[in-house]
């Protein structure tokens, strides 16, 4: 058999300045104001102060109205695109599976808004939101979820494994917790390359116990790796309540044992998440090591699929392991409604514009669904490819 030989790596250092994310620091805020064209609204200092009082002191004032609107739009994309998937599943005959992220949108968007395009994220089974926030294409994602030949993974992987290395997306992963270790490894690679990238891993409250997290945390702490672990504490591991199987209430405490800073944040508040993420990102970029961020949140749907859900209705009710009342309480804290109210009250958006965006996103979701539907299925014999970089493996069924 032929082995494909790797090309020798060349060191490609990304200069500190070439930022293409929203990485505007407090110090550069006044400067960037000067360079803004007409039509871009900024949060006034008064608003920044009120936001600071509400969310903590640091970064919100660095966000332009455009960026804030993008964040709102992205949250909607996740919400409406996944709601569409839920409806497709309920309609029957769906060519795939999904662990819906709805309810947790503030986390993906808050974190990824603090990242550059060349930063890495490693994601888990409930990762659609992370990928959309990092720039994933709705159509190609849905094509992959339905195992089409032109999906992100050519139909091999499906929902659980959507990957786009070119966007820094190291992939969703079906093994709980693995993302933490791979991101920490990527963070070590950043040290070797000498770039100022960051590697972020997303994991649920269930992702702390297998050694993936332990190994990542120790290495990141010992060698100050640019690693950020985002723990989305939605209270459940399938139906198991984390409080029944863990000895601490705040999972960010796990970080203490490794000498890592652990922060707890309201995961339904996109600006709070952004603030903490931005802080952690700047710290890591400056070479000051890792942060663990625990975001308290709740998932609106069942662990998997669309059990308890209905077409055209938000949320999954009547599940044996949680009360409808608990869900309703959390739905009242809808991160999108909350953020939209803030944007409107602060005049970043008008109600009309906010509603227009909903319509635009809804259209984009319909387009994505049509795109995915129209895509071809994979060729049977392609299953033998891609085991190794070159060649195919032999069939053994005849």
């Amino acid at each position: 058999m032929k082995s494909l030989t790797r090309r020798v790596s060349k060191i490609k250092t990304v200069p500190q300045k070439k930022r293409d994310g929203p990485g505007i620091s407090r110090r550069s805020f006044v400067k960037s104001l000067g360079g803004i064209g007409a039509g871009t609204v900024f949060l006034s200092t008064g608003i920044a102060k009120r936001a600071a009082a509400q969310y903590g002191p640091v970064y919100t004032d660095g966000l332009s109205a455009e960026q804030l609107t993008d964040m709102y739009t992205t949250m909607l994309k996740i919400r409406l695109w996944e709601t569409k998937i839920k409806d497709l599943i309920l309609a029957g005959g769906f060519r795939g599976v999904a662990h819906l992220y709805v309810g947790q949108e503030a986390i993906a968007v808050g974190v990824c808004s603090a990242l550059r395009k060349d930063d890495y994220i490693a994601s888990n089974h409930r990762g659609h939101g992370h990928l959309i926030a990092k720039g994933g294409d709705l159509g190609k994602m849905l094509a992959e979820i339905t195992h089409k030949a032109t999906g992100y993974c050519k139909g091999y992987g499906g929902s659980l494994h959507i990957t786009d290395i070119s966007l820094g997306i190291l992939g969703m992963n079906g093994v709980v917790g693995a993302a933490h270790l791979f991101a920490a490894g990527a963070a070590y690679g950043i040290k070797v390359k000498g770039t100022d990238q960051i590697a972020v891993s997303f994991g649920g409250d269930g992702s702390l116990q297998n050694s993936f997290f332990t190994s990542a945390a120790n290495a990141a702490s010992a060698w100050k790796l640019p690693w950020i672990a985002v723990i989305e504490n939605n209270a459940f591991q399938i139906w198991v309540r984390s409080s029944d199987v863990y000895g601490t209430q705040d999972l960010a405490r796990r970080a203490d044992g490794f000498g890592i800073e652990g922060r707890v944040v309201d995961g339904n508040d996109v600006l709070s998440v952004y603030n903490v993420a931005r802080y952690a990102v700047e710290k890591a970029r400056a070479g000051n090591g890792p942060t663990v961020i625990e975001c308290k949140t709740y998932r609106w749907y069942d662990h998997y699929g669309a059990g308890g859900a209905r077409i055209g209705v938000d949320g999954a009710f009547g599940l044996g392991y949680r009360s409808d009342r608990e869900l309703r309480d959390w739905m009242a804290k809808d991160p999108i409604v909350r953020f939209r109210k803030f944007l409107v009250s602060e005049k970043v958006l008008t109600e009309e514009r906010a509603e227009e965006i909903v319509a635009e996103v809804r259209q984009a979701v319909e387009d994505a669904a049509k795109f995915a539907e129209a895509q071809p299925v994979p060729k049977p014999e392609d299953g033998l490819l891609n085991v190794f970089a070159e060649g195919s493996v032999p069939l053994h069924n005849s």
């Binding site: 195992h147 992987g157 493996v393 032999p394």
Partner: protein, 323 residues
């Protein structure tokens, strides 16, 4: 309604937990309860949360905790999910499998590693659709590995596994109900005994759990062509000493051995069986069917192209008879 494999297993555990007041189950999220109409089992409700303990997503705890417990005389069942089967592999390898020998017979692990197995499902990726993992356990010294193909065997083998003083890996594939009815009372299916599913004289076919239904269909197809196939289900994969005589006798009679695995080709469990028969029955002819050495793709188009099924088994049998 016949009992499902899942129900039969819970019934086995229920009986043993009633019999042995210390027997304890660790699991993750696979609720140990099942039922329909007026029948139901709920182990947590019956035995309490100390003995029926749901755990964090921590397969090392589930298996390693069970090992530590069993070493001190509290027999244990450790239930782990399929994609995580190999997280506690080192524990089974270096400790459960070795320590009795290394301590001169002192250390005993009366435990069952109840491993969920996946199948080559469509619409999953390779992590959630693997099969054949039992051969990695069957390879380890000091472990017994059983793999039921019917609800009847599932219950009887679980009872045997729990009562065994040695560590047993119990592989549960999701297979449809078939075979004899499952009695309500406890009974054992001995570890180390194969089952001849169909007697025949022209060709020997060996396969188990996920392949049982396909092989059974292939045997029917072959019958139509006047070919009499003998179908043997090993039921125990390690140690094989008790299983091999039946298979070897059969191949001595038929001269031909066809095996079929849902797992990947290389080191699928039937490879070991073929190698043993090749040594014992010179001149026999062999054919091994299996999934390729590839992960399982999610798209059914690719997956079906790669899987073994009844038609392919029957065709391979016909070819082997002509060889």
């Amino acid at each position: 309604m016949p009992k499902s494999m899942g129900y039969a297993i819970l019934e086995a555990i229920q009986g043993e937990m009633r019999r042995d007041k210390l027997l304890t189950l660790f699991y993750e999220y696979q609720t140990p309860a099942a039922g329909w109409s007026n029948r139901s089992i709920n182990l947590e409700a019956e035995f309490g949360r100390t003995r029926v303990r749901f755990c964090a997503i921590d397969e090392e705890w589930i298996v390693g905790g069970a090992m530590g417990m069993s070493m001190t005389g509290v027999p244990a069942i450790a239930h782990i999910p399929s994609m995580a089967t190999f997280i506690p592999y080192e524990l089974m390898f270096n400790h459960a499998g070795k320590l009795r020998h290394m301590t001169g017979g002192q250390a005993a692990f009366p435990m069952v590693l109840w491993a969920d197995m996946a199948r080559r499902w469509a619409f999953q990726g390779g992590q959630h659709a693997d099969a054949g993992l039992e051969s990695s356990y069957a390879r380890l010294a000091g472990l017994k590995v059983v793999i039921p193909s019917t609800p009847y065997d599932a219950k009887g083998l679980m009872v045997s596994a729990i009562r065994d003083v040695d560590p047993v890996v119990y592989c549960q594939y999701p297979v449809p109900s078939a075979g004899p009815e499952v009695p309500d009372e406890p009974y054992t299916v001995p570890i180390g005994e194969p089952a001849i599913r169909t007697e025949g004289k022209d060709i020997t076919i060996v396969g188990y759990a996920p392949q049982t239904a396909e092989i059974a269909r292939a045997v029917e197809e072959l019958k139509k062509d006047g070919i009499s196939a003998e179908f043997i289900d090993p039921r125990t994969l390690a140690p094989l000493e008790g299983v091999m005589p039946t298979i070897i006798e059969s191949v001595k009679k038929t001269g031909r051995l066809l095996t079929s695995d849902e797992g990947s080709y290389t080191f699928c469990n039937c490879a070991e069986i073929i190698a043993r028969v090749a040594e014992a029955v010179p001149g026999a002819k062999f054919k091994r069917l299996a999934f390729p050495d590839a992960p399982a793709p999610g798209a059914p188009e690719m997956l079906n192209y790669m899987n073994v099924d009844a038609t392919r088994i029957a065709a391979a049998a016909r070819r082997l008879l002509k060889a």
